[in-house]
């Protein structure tokens, strides 16, 4: 399973490295979202600083939608999804591989977004360790849920509009917990963040477990 996951993740990351969609389209979009928030809240810089954690995670959620859409767009083109089914790869491995590739892309984008928050919102970063842990767990949860709902939507003709409808409600508790953990890290150096981090860990574990089991049947029926 892990061998298949590594193979699929390597393939997806190679596709992204060659197509540069994440670099040329998703990353600029993420920065644009941050800039738009800055424009909207600029009259009160204090609000912008206080809301920076939430704005960061909303921007991550938007970019996650694009990353997941892209992850399954490459499988829909020219019947590649049937190619995956025919390959004999372990469905759980395919799930972990695709989720891993999405998570890797999101983590890279989060570094960019964090820099954007510091520069655009004048936010001082505290509790770096807690922030990194928050990012890792929340990203795993978002990537796992996104991959699961991505394959569900992949077989539907109106998948572009269906995916956000399915995924946003599932991402909402993750975004909420990640925002609370990040706020705690920024304001109290992380002491109040642990309950939210434990919740994020639970979300990540549940979405990964459900995805590992359910991805195969969804891939067959999509």
């Amino acid at each position: 399973m892990l061998r298949d996951a590594a193979l699929v993740a390597g393939k997806d990351l190679r596709v992204e490295a060659r197509s540069r969609v994440a670099l040329n389209q998703v990353a600029p979009f993420a920065i644009l979202v941050l800039v738009l928030f800055a424009f909207a809240l600029d009259p009160d810089r204090g609000v912008l600083v206080r809301a920076s954690a939430g704005l960061f995670w909303v921007a991550v959620a938007f970019t996650a939608l694009l990353a997941v859409q892209r992850s399954f767009a490459i499988e829909v083109a020219d019947g590649a999804r049937d190619g995956l089914r025919l390959s004999g790869l372990d469905p759980a491995g395919i799930f972990l591989g695709k989720a891993g590739a999405v998570a890797a892309e999101l983590l890279a984008l989060e570094v960019l977004l964090a820099a954007g928050v510091v520069v655009l919102y004048n936010t001082d970063l505290h509790g770096i360790g807690v922030l990194v842990l928050t990012c890792l767990l929340a990203t795993l949860a978002i990537a796992a849920a996104g991959t699961l709902y991505g394959v569900l939507a992949a077989g539907v003709r109106m998948r572009e509009t269906l995916l956000p409808l399915l995924l946003v409600p599932v991402m909402a508790p993750v975004v909420l917990a990640a925002t609370k953990a990040s706020e705690a890290a920024l304001t109290s150096a992380g002491t109040d963040a642990w309950p939210w981090i434990r919740l994020l860990g639970a979300f990540a574990a549940v979405y990964l477990a459900v995805g590992t089991v359910a991805f195969g049947p969804l891939l067959e029926d999509a």
Partner: protein, 228 residues
């Protein structure tokens, strides 16, 4: 030895439509079987069923000794399907696509180079992204992926489509070689003249059923071996 393909009153649905309506089919290992029939008759569906991609909802279906109604996934790694879609990733190179297919099937990557050479994809072309290839070249890449995997059962849907004359001859030679090596080939084609020169038997698919069996004057095994 178990048949390569054994379908008995097999029914498969596309949505609610019975695309395969009680099909019977028996193919022995090492055979080359040509499927003919009008558009929409069920030839592609029959090939997809044999590949384990389309579920059999009624009747019996066994491929390479695997019961397709129980464990269709078990047969997929042992089958090569050349379909209308090529299953390729546009942003990957020719070589990367073939290598991924081979690694996914847990076949040895040593066959990648010879397969690319056999389909005329070596040299400069191997490093070209698939998105930049013509339809015929894409088909060659898809075929190269099957050649490199060297599965036990080859299911080819219009294998000559989009290929130039040399490519068509290569496909015919490949089919003969594969069968001479003991593997089984079932292919659908509208090119009856070409098919009759390659296949040992022709089946006609109409309305999702396999109706007529017509034996060709099959080349002797010695001739097949020489063709290889």
């Amino acid at each position: 030895m178990a048949p390569a393909v054994r379908l008995s009153r097999a029914v498969a649905l596309l949505g609610r439509f019975p695309a395969l309506a009680g099909a019977d089919l028996l193919v022995q290992p090492g055979e080359i079987v040509h499927l003919s029939g009008p558009n929409g008759a069920g030839k592609s569906t029959l090939l997809r069923v044999c590949a384990g991609l389309l579920r059999v909802v009624d009747g019996d279906a066994e491929v390479l000794g695997v019961d397709l109604r129980r464990t269709p996934r078990d047969v997929r790694r042992r089958v090569g399907l050349l379909a209308h879609a090529t299953f390729l990733y546009d942003d990957l190179t020719v070589e990367d696509n073939v290598r991924f297919a081979v690694q996914a099937a847990r076949a040895g990557t040593r066959r990648v180079e010879p397969a690319l050479g056999r389909l005329g994809l070596d040299g400069r072309l191997r490093k070209v992204e698939v998105a930049r290839l013509s339809a015929g070249q894409r088909r060659r890449v898809a075929l190269a992926a099957i050649v490199a995997r060297d599965p036990d059962l080859w299911l080819l849907d219009e294998p000559h489509a989009g290929l130039d004359a040399a490519g068509r001859d290569t496909v015919d030679d490949l089919i003969r070689e594969v069968a001479a090596g003991g593997r089984t080939v079932v292919f659908a084609s509208h090119e009856l003249d070409r098919a009759s020169g390659v296949a040992g038997r022709q089946l006609t698919v109409v309305g999702g059923q396999v109706h007529v069996t017509q034996p060709f004057a099959a080349p002797a095994p010695e001739t097949l071996a020489c063709g290889a």
